[in-house]
Symmetry: D2
Subunit: 219 residues, 4 copies
Amino acid sequence: MIINLKTYPQATGEKAVLLAQTCERVSKQYDVPIVVAPQIPDVYRVSKAVEIPVFSQHMDPGAPGRFTGHTLGETLVEAGCSGTLLNHSENRMVLADIEAAVAKARNLNLYTVVCTNNPAVSVAAATLNPDAVAVEPPELIGTGISVSQAQPEIISGTVEMIRRVNKDVVILCGAGIGTGDDVAAAIKLGAQGVLLASAVAKSDKPEDVLADLVSPLKK
Amino acid sequence: MIINLKTYPQATGEKAVLLAQTCERVSKQYDVPIVVAPQIPDVYRVSKAVEIPVFSQHMDPGAPGRFTGHTLGETLVEAGCSGTLLNHSENRMVLADIEAAVAKARNLNLYTVVCTNNPAVSVAAATLNPDAVAVEPPELIGTGISVSQAQPEIISGTVEMIRRVNKDVVILCGAGIGTGDDVAAAIKLGAQGVLLASAVAKSDKPEDVLADLVSPLKK
Amino acid sequence: MIINLKTYPQATGEKAVLLAQTCERVSKQYDVPIVVAPQIPDVYRVSKAVEIPVFSQHMDPGAPGRFTGHTLGETLVEAGCSGTLLNHSENRMVLADIEAAVAKARNLNLYTVVCTNNPAVSVAAATLNPDAVAVEPPELIGTGISVSQAQPEIISGTVEMIRRVNKDVVILCGAGIGTGDDVAAAIKLGAQGVLLASAVAKSDKPEDVLADLVSPLKK
Amino acid sequence: MIINLKTYPQATGEKAVLLAQTCERVSKQYDVPIVVAPQIPDVYRVSKAVEIPVFSQHMDPGAPGRFTGHTLGETLVEAGCSGTLLNHSENRMVLADIEAAVAKARNLNLYTVVCTNNPAVSVAAATLNPDAVAVEPPELIGTGISVSQAQPEIISGTVEMIRRVNKDVVILCGAGIGTGDDVAAAIKLGAQGVLLASAVAKSDKPEDVLADLVSPLKK
């Protein structure tokens, strides 16, 4: 389970640290792996504060040297990240840059999650051999209408199509997931995990929401 | 004087902190204001380690909430930044986004430096009322050939043209600046400061280079 | 008056030619200059069919040679265009590219209309010395709610602010303009012309709509 | 064989028509299919002048309606195009847009050629089921150093990797191809055709160059 903090004010700066610590507590209590993805300026302070994996929300494919303002993999490693989202629908990437970023992240031992918008794009992403692909229909992101309940065929179709070209890539889904039932439905459809944001980041009681979300994954 | 650390390996992570501390020592010793602009994942750790101003290399204009992977002003403030570069030639921005970012930074009390590539673009940028405009001919960036010596008319022309529309904006120049003589030439041409990168970030002896650079600005 | 045909199906291919001929008839009958801006693949066939000015909807700043897929000024001239829109809100450009495109168009005797989203951006655009600036609040584009009636202060503010830095640039406005009254209101607020799209391109009776629109401009 | 006219001045406007007619003559004389890809403002006049297939250099994925300045498939069809290049290295596209453009072109019966920069990206593109994939190492484009002679493993590797996921897609290669020997080498390595530009578009004697190029393909 990956919690994307996006740019929510409730999940920025010191509040990102507190939310990451909440994720860590729930992760330990229920023995379910939780990853947190804070904003890029926050990755260092969050990774210093928790032991659960911290992912960046984006990584550029460039090489050290120039590229003012770009977010390089080398710098993310130094900042304590162990992985990164790529190609999120709010930050889409050129195909060749996704390939270059995945290849570079692999050399740096950064875990890569390529976000995609439909089954066909998911298959293309899967052939680049990232660690995970996360399919998220953009029209459901942030709506509270769960992809696993509203568009189950997106998940099952993606799983089936990806497995024809890549047996190993982890398949995640996201968009509108907010409850343990949504997670259970996703797992039943063949997803191996979920990517979510607002349900946790915007909640007044994130610990309760997280506890509900991880319940179907509890060992 | 603004030191852009770009993505140089010699200026990443802990090394960015060390270089910022060097800038701070020289700034205090010579009583010359020096600003350091580390990579975005490094802004928090650098701003915790030094008292000189820390600028981001980029800021997106979006609002808190969505915008996964974007770098918002609110988050930069929380991370300890007091300003940001915008529209660097390695990270150029759409015109409406520059305007929106400058307006938003103003509300957040973040100092804005809009980078530009020639006098005409500098004038357009100056009308947006950022705190500073930094003209940098892209063909000289990283070359070691100083704009103030090789293309002095760029600086004097920019100063003259900007002053017709904006009396107050600080005018900086950059590209290829590496010595105190380059800085002195820039100041003589009407620039009020310089923006530089490789001369310091790639040097084996950044403290000596900085001491030479600030010598014409010493009070 | 500039009629932007966007990518409306009613204004594509042969239908773009017919609509341009309608514009031409109205232009001659009422002695009001009308410019038509068809889609880029249509500029040649439209410019062969009418004598009124044909503008491109976009122009890239690149030089002849490489740049596969780009729309160069030289090619627009060969295709019979006499001008181009730049930086439309549906096709926003990097600041330095707007400047380069305006400068290049000037050398090619192409008339330039830089589209902008608010008064501050309009002033920045005006300092680049295009032939015209067209302010269009994006939130009103295509709504049928006229900028000149719903947000008159956008137009009057833009005119006032632009005139401080540029006495000569033609000032247009757009967004939601659909009737002669909207045009009259715009002219009264200080605009020298209008840029519009859906009211004409989507109409069943474009000739009647155009006749109404030009009535306040009739000599 | 696809001849990309890029934005060469020797292949713009009326000269694009003349060059397309030359391609048509050689195509008929040697009974080898040749496709010509002129600049977007030139597609209509070229398609009116020749019977060989005319491809656009780019197509955007948007739908009819708004999207000022975009190049829609519907408009390309009306302009006489029978196909389009996508994602050329000089005009790279976001992954989701490539998928959307390929799907839309399929509905419009437009032939799609997705350009790619290496074998891994070629495989990803092939899973989107375009009609063809054209691998072109960017560092060789326009150099006159033929990919088929300088980097034969790029072609053979691409062919082998693509065939694991897609049996049907046509595999082309490009970059630096200028002679019949280069074409013969490409075919021998498993390519089914070539994409080239400068060798023909910049030649003083394009008919002779074309005759040499097609000689290995002659039936």
